[in-house]
Structure formats: structure tokens, C-alpha cells
């Protein structure tokens, strides 16, 4: 079993694609940049489950995104953030 591709503190971008099957990535985080908060182990890929296909385990991460990154003209405190759990195949390197 290979190790996690990302480690806590690393910056990542969430992929901006929209497959025509259930997936656990809401539109408002697609294309946004965040930081890996922690690695959450391996879990079954939702897209495969949704299509009734056999189980494939994928690494899951908790990604921390600034609210200011998510919403244009965000009025709240600059340190406000959202933690969202995203699978590794939805993450891209962001340097």
C-alpha cells in the first residue's frame, strides 16, 4: 500500500470537473485552493459505489479552505475557514 500523496500543511487545488455520477465534492469548492489539515485514511470511492461497481479504496483528506477563498466579497473574519473531506483523486498540486 503506497503512502499518502499529500501531507498536512501542503497546498492543494480541488479539481473543477463534473462527472455525470454522484460524487462528494460540492460545486462551491471546485477549483478552490486549500491546505491539507489531516489524512483521514482510505475509504471506498463514492463514484464507483454510486455506479454499483466493485470497491476501490481511495485516500481521503480533510482540506481547510479560507471562507474568503470560497465566497467573493466575504464579509466575515479573515481567519474564518471551512474544513471539507475530499478524496485524493480530486486533488491537484498547488505550489
Amino acid at each position: 500500500m503506497t503512502g499518502p500523496r499529500y501531507r498536512p500543511g501542503q497546498r492543494v487545488r480541488i479539481a473543477a470537473r463534473t462527472p455525470a455520477v454522484h460524487h462528494r465534492v460540492p460545486a462551491y469548492v471546485k477549483g478552490k485552493v486549500g491546505t491539507i489539515e489531516r489524512v483521514c485514511g482510505k475509504h471506498g470511492e463514492p463514484e464507483r459505489h454510486a455506479a454499483g461497481k466493485s470497491l476501490v479504496l481511495r485516500r481521503l483528506y480533510r482540506v481547510r479552505i479560507a471562507q474568503q477563498e470560497l465566497w467573493d466579497g466575504y464579509q466575515g473574519a479573515p481567519q474564518d475557514k471551512l474544513d471539507v473531506e475530499i478524496f485524493e483523486h480530486w486533488l491537484e498540486d498547488e505550489v
Binding site: P19, H22, A27, G52
Partner: protein
């Protein structure tokens, strides 16, 4: 891509994908679960136990394929019922004629009670 580049417009993936869109207040009223809603819940669990559906994600997938109009109109367990029915039809567990016969039978039973 630079972090300052404008975000690629991410399209909503279905009628459920509405996070961040303008909306009214949340209805926080408590409500009882009707008997038929427990029955839908039981049917889903049975379908999963029998292997007709492998995961809750399959139910979600069917719900997310509803038209925005249907999604808006249907209640929580009505969405479950529609998704479960389409999954069981697709897999050939139930035929569309058998489903229609049952719907007709229940309609007649309800009409005769009125």
C-alpha cells in the same frame, strides 16, 4: 495556474448541488415520520442486504438524477422512493409492469376507502 487566476466556473452536478446559492430561511419545525416513510426506509435496507443496491451512494446517485422540478416538488422519502424504484427497475429486480400494477392496486384500495 496562479492562485489569483479566476476560478473555473464549476457547474452544479445536479439539483442538490446548491451550496452558497441564495435561499430562504431553514424550516426547523419537527415532524413525525409517516408509516410509509418507515416502509421506504425498510425497503432500501432490504434491497442493500439482498445486494440489489451496494451502497447508499447508489441511492444518492438516483436522487441527484431527478429533474430540478421533481427534486423541488418531492419530499425527502419521496425522493428515496423514486431513486429506489429506478434502481430496482434498472437492475430488473422489479418490472415496470409489476410496479405499475402495484401502483394501480394501491390507488384502487385508497379510492375504495374514501
Amino acid at each position: 495556474m496562479s492562485p489569483d487566476a479566476p476560478d473555473k466556473a464549476a457547474l452544479p452536478s445536479g439539483p442538490h448541488d446548491i451550496g452558497g446559492l441564495p435561499a430562504g430561511p431553514v424550516d426547523r419545525a419537527e415532524h413525525d415520520t409517516a408509516h410509509w416513510e418507515w416502509q421506504i426506509d425498510a425497503m432500501l435496507r432490504l434491497a442493500m442486504q439482498k445486494g440489489a443496491l451496494t451502497d447508499f451512494a447508489e441511492l444518492r446517485d438516483g436522487i441527484e438524477r431527478l429533474t430540478p422540478k421533481d427534486y423541488e416538488k418531492l419530499s425527502y422519502y419521496e425522493r428515496w422512493a423514486r431513486s429506489l424504484a429506478s434502481a430496482l427497475l434498472k437492475k430488473g429486480v422489479v418490472s415496470s409492469s409489476a410496479l405499475q400494477d402495484k401502483i394501480d392496486e394501491i390507488r384502487e384500495r385508497q379510492a375504495s376507502r374514501r
